[in-house]
Amino acid sequence: MKFLPVTLSLLEGFGISCIIFFFTLVFSLPLGLIISFGSMSRFAPLRWLTRTFVWVIRGTPLMLQLMVVYYGPGLIFGVAAFPKLTAVLIAFIINYAAYFSEIYRSGIEGVPRGQYEAGQVLGMTKSQIFFRVTLMQVIKRIVPPMANEIITLVKDTSLARVIAVMEIIMVAGTFTAKGLIWPLFYAGVFYLAFCGILTLLFNYVERKLSYFRV
């Protein structure tokens, strides 16, 4: 097998990986914020419910969650519910939203209490304080832990192969089954390059957000 067809096949697989990465990010970032509100709620049952939810999601392997989402409906109701890629996205979005929610919570709770009070003294409403005072600082504080999690997400996309979604590692595996070993390791280069770009991007974002530095 030649180098070019292998590269093209791997690129096709990497496209699927990127789709998983991109959609997971787009949906789990806002969902994570909503979940973090839930786990900080003063309404105890909701707080309890969301924290249990986060515990379950963070406490079980993503690989297992993928299988639950994909096979679960069929096993329980006798009818398959989601196409493969949809099932993957659902599992990834929920899983990553749970992790992100804790990062948001650390960021939000890390803003000194005095700033809320200062805002109240100035006559700002709760939402004004949140969006104009807290959130700006939260974004800046959570960039490093978020970057960490997002880079993990790039590589976690390979878990999708557990339900036979043709992401890059699975594509590379089909070459291994034909007697070629190198495509598997070559696939690593794609991840490395992508993570390299992300790292540069996050460094840039961090630099841009380094205002308020004392």
């Binding site: 909503i34 509100f37 839930g38 709620s41 003063r42 309404f43 909701l46 419910l49 969301t50 299988m67 994909y70 096979y71 679960g72 409906p73 069929g74 096993l75 109701f77 006798g78 009818v79 398959a80 519910a81 989601f82 196409p83 409403t125 709760k126 939402s127 949140f130 192969r161 557990v162 339900i163 036979a164 043709m166 595996g173 089909t174 291994t176 089954a177 034909k178 007697g179 070629l180 070993i181 190198w182």
Partner: protein, 292 residues
């Protein structure tokens, strides 16, 4: 503000639960003849609760398509140079579906979770050089066997003189795919040798090449396809005249499926009219085809 958010969250959770319930009557995944299926699903509410008790043949005929679970596994199901899915099982399935009057739909699966796929109805049959084993009989129904599946031992060419008999293999480090026929051969014919299970047969060869194991026990056809000139395993060889336990391939259906008899009947016809022997000839399996 927080109260509204709380309320919104509770609503969302309720909605999510409701959405899960709603997903029930959706057809399997593709736009198959849903008009014939949807009324069925509503008229028999018990259908979803006892998938084993269903009339599986009627279910398949009703859908008008047979969803076939496969993995990329030459020469049974694999992609040729033009990127088309070919192989013995592929052509066999197309021929059988033609007689059955349904459209074959091939779906790539993860071999480790094939039983879930079957039970969850994401596929209707496993048709991919599936070895008949007693353990598997607990999870699926088999048709009559159609191919004899020999197991062979693959070693590094450098070790050709070291490993020649079953006896000499007992001192080696064995490796085979977990749950495969190779694994059972390793555990019966070569009991006592040190054995490691790996995820796939391809990984087993990789282990031997990488010197992390000495002997891979894999399918005969796969061994001959994957080793030799033009592959990365040119330095691996198959030990000749070593008689390991051989097993048989069959089509796996849902446990208690009513389609088994129909499949056997059609297969007998395909053998009688020469269709299946011709396909076997094409993929070099003529001497391994079971003719009734």
């Amino acid at each position: 503000m927080k109260k509204y958010i709380s309320l919104l969250l509770v609503l969302m959770m309720v909605f999510t639960v409701a959405a899960c319930g709603n997903s029930k009557p959706q057809p399997s995944s593709s736009p198959s003849p849903s008009p014939s299926q949807s009324p069925d699903a509503t008229s028999s509410p018990t259908e979803g609760e006892s998938p084993k008790g269903d009339d599986d043949l009627a279910y398949i005929l009703d859908k008008g398509e047979l969803v076939i679970g496969y993995t990329d596994y030459a020469p049974m199901n694999y992609y040729n140079e033009d990127g088309e899915l070919v192989g013995f099982d592929t052509e066999y399935a197309i021929a059988l579906c033609d007689k059955l009057g349904v459209t074959p739909k091939f779906v790539l699966i993860n071999w480790d979770t094939k039983e879930y796929e079957l039970a969850a109805k994401t596929i209707d049959v496993i048709w991919n050089g599936l070895t008949v084993t007693e353990e598997r009989r607990e999870n699926m129904a088999f048709t009559n066997s159609y191919i004899i599946n020999e197991q062979v031992a693959v070693i590094r060419a450098a070790d050709a003189e070291k490993y020649t008999t079953l006896e000499s293999l007992k001192s080696a480090n064995l490796v085979a795919e977990t749950g495969s026929a190779g694994e059972s051969a390793a555990n019966t014919d070569l009991a006592g040798a040190s054995y490691t299970a790996v995820a796939t047969q391809a990984n087993a060869l990789l282990e031997v090449k990488a010197m992390t194991a000495d002997v891979a026990i894999i399918d005969s056809t796969m061994a001959h396809t994957m080793t030799g000139a033009g592959t990365d395993y040119a330095d691996l060889i198959v030990i000749e005249n070593l008689h390991l336990t051989s097993e048989e391939y069959a089509i796996g259906l849902r446990l208690g499926s009513t389609a088994v008899d129909k499949f056997n009947e059609i297969t007998a016809e395909l053998i009688a009219d020469g269709t299946l022997p011709a396909i076997a000839e094409k993929y070099g399996l003529a001497d391994r085809l079971i003719k009734g």
